[in-house]
């Protein structure tokens, strides 16, 4: 208080770095005026009204490279997981997961282990009402669709001795309205199916 001003109103001068005026009203959650001079980097005036969630006046001098780094990336919502376990319908098609929304598929899988062969069973991936992948486990193996990025769905396990089968879905598929996993059973059995989607919605 030597200057006669309140402590919060006095200037700071740390050699070449100065914080000239800082008035902070904590009760109103606002910063009225903030002048920061960090050598060649200047943030002239910053009015932030946290209650109204607005930035009133923000002056940035890009020529002086006041922003050292800009990170630009697509914005998606938080990661979501949907999982299903249910018996298939013999000689019929059953839906396991449906997501209605817009977003991106991070991955997913359909797995089954049974007491009889399911090599002709078909996992089906529907995106926006369109079937992107619909091949039997047997066809996926014989056609070599066993690696990511070849097709939207790829085989990760084919064991026709112990009757264990699994497919996975490709990362990065965007959807505008819907995402769906189905399973078409064609061996007259009712194997238990476990399906999963990992995705984000905007």
């Amino acid at each position: 208080m030597a200057s006669g001003l309140p402590d919060y109103y006095r200037g700071f001068d740390l050699a070449i770095q100065s914080l000239s005026t800082l008035a902070v009203d904590v009760a109103a959650q606002s910063i009225e005026q903030l002048n920061v001079d960090l050598v060649a980097q200047t943030l002239d005036r910053l009015d932030i009204d946290i209650i109204a969630q607005t930035i009133g006046n923000l002056t940035i001098d890009i020529a002086a490279q006041n922003l050292s780094e800009i990170i630009n990336r697509p914005k998606y919502g938080g990661a979501q997981r949907a999982a299903s376990t249910a018996d298939a319908w013999a000689n019929d098609t059953r839906s396991y997961i449906t997501v209605s929304g817009k977003g991106m598929l991070y991955g997913g899988s359909l797995f089954l282990e049974h007491t009889a062969s399911q090599k002709t069973g078909k996992p089906i991936l529907m995106v926006d009402g369109v079937s992107l992948a619909q091949w039997s486990f047997e066809d996926s193996l014989s056609l070599g669709m066993v690696k990511p990025w070849i097709k939207a769905m790829f085989l990760t396990k084919y064991d026709d001795v112990n009757f264990v089968y699994c497919v996975a879905f490709m990362y990065g598929i965007t959807f505008e309205t819907s995402l769906q996993i189905l399973y078409e059973e064609s061996e007259g059995e009712t194997p238990n199916i476990t399906a999963e989607f990992i995705f984000a919605v905007v």
């Binding site: 969630q53 979501q80 376990t85 249910a86 059953r94 997501v99 209605s100 309205t177």
Partner: protein, 72 residues
């Protein structure tokens, strides 16, 4: 503000489970809520269930145009 982000319909054994992901706060807080089981899914039921969970009027829930109810 509650804004719908997606509707999930998942087969859990013999149950058809309907859930909704909503954005609850600005900018990004997503919450998933189970709405009901083994019922026909339509817009009215989804809005009514969400309104009950958050204690608001169904009209206060934002339903984006791209979200269509797809039942099975």
């Amino acid at each position: 503000m509650i804004e719908l982000r997606c509707i999930e319909i998942v087969q859990d054994g013999s149950d058809k489970v309907v859930s909704a992901v909503v954005q609850n706060e600005f900018p990004e807080v997503h919450e998933k809520n189970e709405l009901f089981r083994n019922e026909v899914v339509n817009r009215g039921r989804v809005l009514t269930a969400l309104a009950a969970i958050y204690g608001i009027d169904p009209g206060q829930i934002v339903w984006p145009r791209h979200i269509k109810v797809k039942d099975f």
